[in-house]
């Protein structure tokens, strides 16, 4: 059972919390509010889908610190930053820390909701990607070391002949390996295989190891 996506609102001002909840609920989204970053951390468990609406200026743990915490704990929930007037430098820092969007108070409801929708979509996408990556990883695990080598080289854009020279085998053997790789990775085309490799961060690591 997958939970419906929830909008988590963290703001120290009660009026803000209440009004945000009121606004977001008007478009039939689920909202949970927290009066501090601490409270949020205590009740949130990773894996809950949704997005985070975060006030930058807060007593105790600030919005930026919370972002830092999430990143450190590899919680990939999309974050929308709400800033007061004139907090532009802080907003920039937030964006640099990986926030999806930032909204300046007072804000247009349409804009906010759009941003939320966008964040939720992003969340869904991120979750899909993560699932995909997991799938690719299992497939990769099935490859033999030689097949793995061949796959890295192929996705790095090397021709069969080059690979054969590089590995010291015949071109035919390379072909056979390549076919088995395509099969094991369930790739219909080279393009698909390349995408999978990118997804699994194969290219970079291999190329660096090659150096």
């Amino acid at each position: 059972m997958i939970n419906p996506p929830t909008v988590f609102v963290v703001d120290d001002d009660q009026a803000m919390r209440n009004s945000l909840k009121w606004l977001i609920e008007s478009v039939s989204m689920q909202v949970e509010t927290f009066e501090s970053a601490d409270a949020f951390i205590k009740s949130y468990y990773p894996g809950r889908s949704g997005c985070l609406l975060l006030d930058v200026r807060m007593p105790g743990m600030s919005g930026l610190e919370l972002q830092e915490y999430l990143r450190a704990n590899q919680i990939a929930i999309p974050v929308i930053i709400i800033t007061g007037h004139g907090d532009v430098p802080m907003a920039v820092r937030a964006m640099k820390s990986g926030a999806v969007d930032f909204i300046e108070k007072p804000f247009n409801d349409e804009l906010l909701l759009e941003s939320i929708r966008h964040a939720l979509a992003l969340d869904v996408k991120q979750r899909d990607m993560q699932a995909q990556r997991a799938e690719i990883a299992t497939r990769l695990a099935r490859l033999t070391p030689r097949e793995h080598e061949v796959m890295v080289m192929v996705t790095n854009g090397k021709a069969n002949k080059e690979i054969a020279t590089g590995l010291g085998v015949s071109a035919k053997t390379v072909e056979a390996h390549r076919a088995r790789v395509m099969e094991k990775m369930q790739a219909n085309s080279l393009a698909e295989l390349v995408r999978m490799a990118i997804n699994a961060n194969l290219t970079l690591s291999e190329s660096s190891s090659e150096e």
Partner: protein, 849 residues
């Protein structure tokens, strides 16, 4: 010696309280009375009682006799009853005596005709009972006891009698009772005779009914006054003479009244022992004495009590008088607390009069002293007068000169007296005028004449010429007329006048206006520099001032105190000091053109005001960011709520209650925003104003509201502790607010360096004394190091990165402007306290109070 003794006695008496004394006196009086009266009264009483007793004894004697007689009568009744007794009658009827035989029959036992035990009265039985026949011969005799004589002889002697009778036989008294026996119808009846010996028993029995045994009775032979028998034979033996007992007994002899008269009727004697009588009298007297003693005691007690009451009252009155004396009249009179009030009152009065006399003597002394002093003063006046005084007689001879004259002219007193004054001391040219003056005064000598102030030249012993002013007054004594000549050396004065004339230049050449106005408001003097003022007033020298200024001059004169006024004449500003010279009813006006100074002052003030403004703007700038953020919160909330509502209504979702709740939230947030804006306006919207009266507490409250956001943001706990009383101050509100704002913001900034829970700010107001109040701004910051403290109020000194270093400098300037101060007390590590001290007049009226 006696006086000394009396004094000693008195001193002792004074200490004894009056009630005790009165008690003593009472007892003494009672004793004296007792000693004087007791013997006299006692003797008298004894006499009275004696007489009374004797008369009572008489009565008793009669009673005793009556009882005796009654006893005799009882014997008669006994005789009658025997004669009628049935045994006797029966016996007599049984036979009759033989007439011839004169034989008497004797019985020694009780005969048959007698009932045994009869006859008797009380305990006495008859010695003989005899029956006689009708002829009077004894026939039968019952001898109860033998008689010392023959019965027949008695019958012979006393036959034919009836009733009872007392007879003497051998000097012994006997009672005979005759009674007729009616046994036959014969006229001559038989008789029964009882013979009873009257002895002491008989007498005792006769008195058995009476009480008391102190009375003895007896029968006395009326012839020789010897006792025949007595009731107590041992005490009073029979045969003794009555007169022998008069010493020890009271005797009363009475004749026995009897039916039959007898030759030998003995007297009945009553005897009462004198001892008994005396004892009774003594008893009664003692009782009376006790009575008197008791009465005396009651008298003493009552007397003492009354005196005690009176003394208590006197005591009260005395105490009251003493206190009054002490408090109201200041007389050092001790309050009488105890002791003898009367003596103390005497002392008191004595002391009072002594004090009175002392006071009178003192007064007298003082008066005398004053008179003496006056004399001395007068002579001193005469001698030390600034004026030379010479007294001349009618001939113009010097009679007396004073010290000044001696000094002025250089002649000794001896050289002057007795000579014509003008010949010695007046310049030759003026001598005739001097003589004329005297002459004029002599002509007017009928009334005290005075010729005054003639200017003459005098010559001293050294030949110097001196200008003198000469006045003469004539003094008329009883026999002569004298002249007092007063000579005033005016050479000094003339010099002074010249100097004064030169001094006048001081005013005339003064570049500032100097004027003199008299009490009518007329300009008596005005120097050249006064021209602009004269033009302004539109008057000339010698004319009166305008009415307003005339009134000012009058009021200054009245009050006698310098006053300063300002006037603006076109571009110029003058300060005019009105200085009254009350002795001559003038007012001097010293003007000063201080246009330049005022301009400079104004400029400086303006600068300061601008500086404050800049400072304020900077404060505002810093604070408005925070305020804007604050304002954003409610506005955002409002938009969110409103948008939410719109969406719900559009989509048809959302209950009415839900929507209403949201709208209520909108209202609340809008109000919140309004509140913030109000504060913002309070901070910004003020304009520099003149001084006005305000309550320092309100000012501090306002400042506290300004910094609320910032304090909240910095997590500073702010407590405001205001004085209960109103603290009125006369200040420029904006400026003083700015001072406090600066201090509070500094404090909040400083506390950024300490932990969140430790940030506490206290704003406290209190009155220091009648003239000043203060605000304390107290933080728990890190404190200010000593080297920083020294420069704290210097310009461009700042410990902050963004600071201009002007805040405290300006604050101090503002406070100086308000005659106030800022002081700081700081402990490194503990915090700092700023004291803002402002002058305050408690009587200052506040607007709106």
């Amino acid at each position: 010696m006696t006086i000394f003794k009396t004094q000693k006695w008195r001193a002792r008496l004074v200490n004894i309280p009056l009630p005790a004394l009165s008690l003593l006196a009472g007892i003494l009086c009672g004793m004296v009375t007792w000693l004087l009266l007791d013997p006299v009264q006692g003797r008298h009483l004894e006499q009275v009682f004696h007489n009374e007793l004797v008369s009572r004894l008489d009565v008793r004697a009669v009673e005793t006799r009556r009882r005796f007689e009654e006893f005799l009568r009882e014997w008669q009744v006994q005789g009658h009853s025997l004669s009628n007794h049935w045994q006797l009658i029966t016996y007599l009827n049984s036979f009759s005596w033989e007439e011839s035989a004169q034989r008497v029959r004797y019985y020694n036992e009780t005969p048959s005709w007698l009932e045994p035990g009869h006859p008797r009265v009380s305990l006495i039985e008859p010695t003989q009972v005899v029956l006689l026949d009708t002829r009077g011969n004894a026939r039968e005799i019952y001898q109860n006891k033998l008689l010392p004589f023959s019965v027949e002889r008695v019958i012979e002697l006393y036959a034919g009698r009836d009733g009872t009778e007392i007879i003497l036989l051998n000097r012994s008294p006997y009672l005979l009772v005759w009674s007729n026996i009616a046994y036959q119808e014969e006229t001559d009846p038989a008789v029964i005779l009882l013979i009873i010996e009257i002895n002491e028993h008989f007498l005792a029995e006769s008195q058995k009914m009476a009480h008391g045994t102190d009375t003895l009775i007896g029968l006395v032979d009326s012839d020789d006054q010897r006792l025949l028998v007595s009731s107590d034979n041992e005490q009073i033996p029979r045969g003794s003479y009555l007169r022998d007992w008069r010493e020890s007994y009271l005797l009363t002899s009475q004749a026995i009244t009897h039916d039959q008269s007898l030759e030998q009727n003995p007297l009945f004697t009553t005897m009462v022992s004198r001892d008994v009588v005396q004892q009774t009298i003594n008893n009664i007297t003692k009782l009376a004495q006790l009575d008197r003693l008791f009465a005396a005691l009651v008298y003493v007690i009552a007397f003492s009590f009354i005196i005690y009451l009176i003394s208590a009252k006197i005591n009260q009155v005395l105490q009251r008088i003493s206190r009054y004396g002490q408090h109201a009249l200041g007389i050092q009179q001790p309050v009488i607390q105890k002791g003898n009030q009367l003596l103390q009152l005497e002392d008191w009065v004595k002391r009072f009069f002594r004090q009175l006399i002392t006071a009178r003597d003192k007064l007298h002394d003082k008066q005398e002293k004053r008179i003496r002093e006056t004399e001395v003063l007068k002579s001193a006046l005469f001698d030390n007068s600034m004026v030379s005084i010479v007294t001349l007689n009618e001939q113009g001879m010097v009679v007396e000169v004073n010290g000044t004259a001696v000094k002025t002219f250089g002649y000794s007193r001896g050289m002057l007296i007795g000579r014509r004054f003008e010949e010695i001391a007046i310049k030759t040219d003026d001598r005739s005028r001097f003589s004329d003056m005297l002459g004029k005064c002599i002509k007017r000598s009928s009334s005290p004449g005075l010729c005054r102030d003639q200017l003459m030249m005098a010559v001293t012993i050294r030949g110097e010429e001196k200008a003198i002013e000469c006045s003469v007054i004539s003094i008329h004594l009883q026999h002569q007329t004298l002249f007092n000549v007063y000579l005033r050396d005016i050479s000094g004065r003339m010099q002074a006048e010249r100097e004064i004339a030169s001094l006048a230049k001081l005013a005339s050449e003064n570049p500032n206006p100097v004027m003199r106005i008299n009490d009518k408001g007329v300009i008596v003097y005005a120097n050249d520099a006064s021209e602009p003022l004269l033009t302004y007033w539109d008057c000339e020298r010698g004319q009166t001032l305008p009415l307003y200024w005339r009134n000012l001059v009058a009021s200054v004169l009245r009050e006698g105190v310098n006053k300063v006024y300002e006037i603006n004449i076109e571009e110029q500003i003058f300060s005019l000091q009105l200085a009254p010279i009350s002795e001559v009813d003038y007012v001097n006006i010293y003007g000063r053109d201080f246009t330049q100074m005022r301009m400079a002052e104004l400029q400086s003030r303006q600068h300061q005001s601008e500086l404050v403004h800049v400072c304020r703007l900077s404060t505002m700038g810093e604070m408005s960011t925070g305020l804007a953020h604050e304002l954003n919160q409610p506005l955002s909330a409002i938009i969110n709520f409103a948008s939410g509502c719109v969406r719900r209504i559009q989509s048809g979702g959302g209950g009415e209650a839900e929507l209403l709740d949201a709208m209520a939230q909108i209202t609340a947030q809008a109000e919140r925003a309004g509140e913030i804006i109000k504060r913002l306006r309070a901070l910004v919207g003020k304009r520099p104003q003149e001084r006005e009266a305000a309550n320092l507490n309100h000012l501090v409250l306002e400042v506290a509201s300004f910094i609320e956001f910032e304090a909240n943001r910095q997590k500073v706990e702010v407590s405001v502790d205001l004085s209960d009383e109103v603290l009125p101050v006369m200040v420029d509100l904006v400026q003083v607010e700015q001072v406090l704002l600066n201090l509070v913001r500094n404090a909040i900034d400083a506390m950024k360096q300490v932990a969140v829970g430790e940030r506490r700010l206290v704003l406290l107001t209190e009155r220091i004394d009648d003239k000043s109040v203060q605000v304390l701004v107290k933080d728990t910051g890190p404190g200010i190091p000593e080297e920083t403290l020294e420069h704290l109020f210097d310009a461009f000194f700042s410990t902050k990165k963004s600071g201009m270093g002007m805040g405290l400098r300006i604050s101090q300037k503002i406070m100086q402007d308000h005659q106030g101060t800022i002081e700081v007390v700081s402990v490194v590590g503990k915090g700092s306290t700023f004291h803002v001290i402002l002058p305050s007049d408690p009587k200052l009226e506040l607007p709106g109070f």
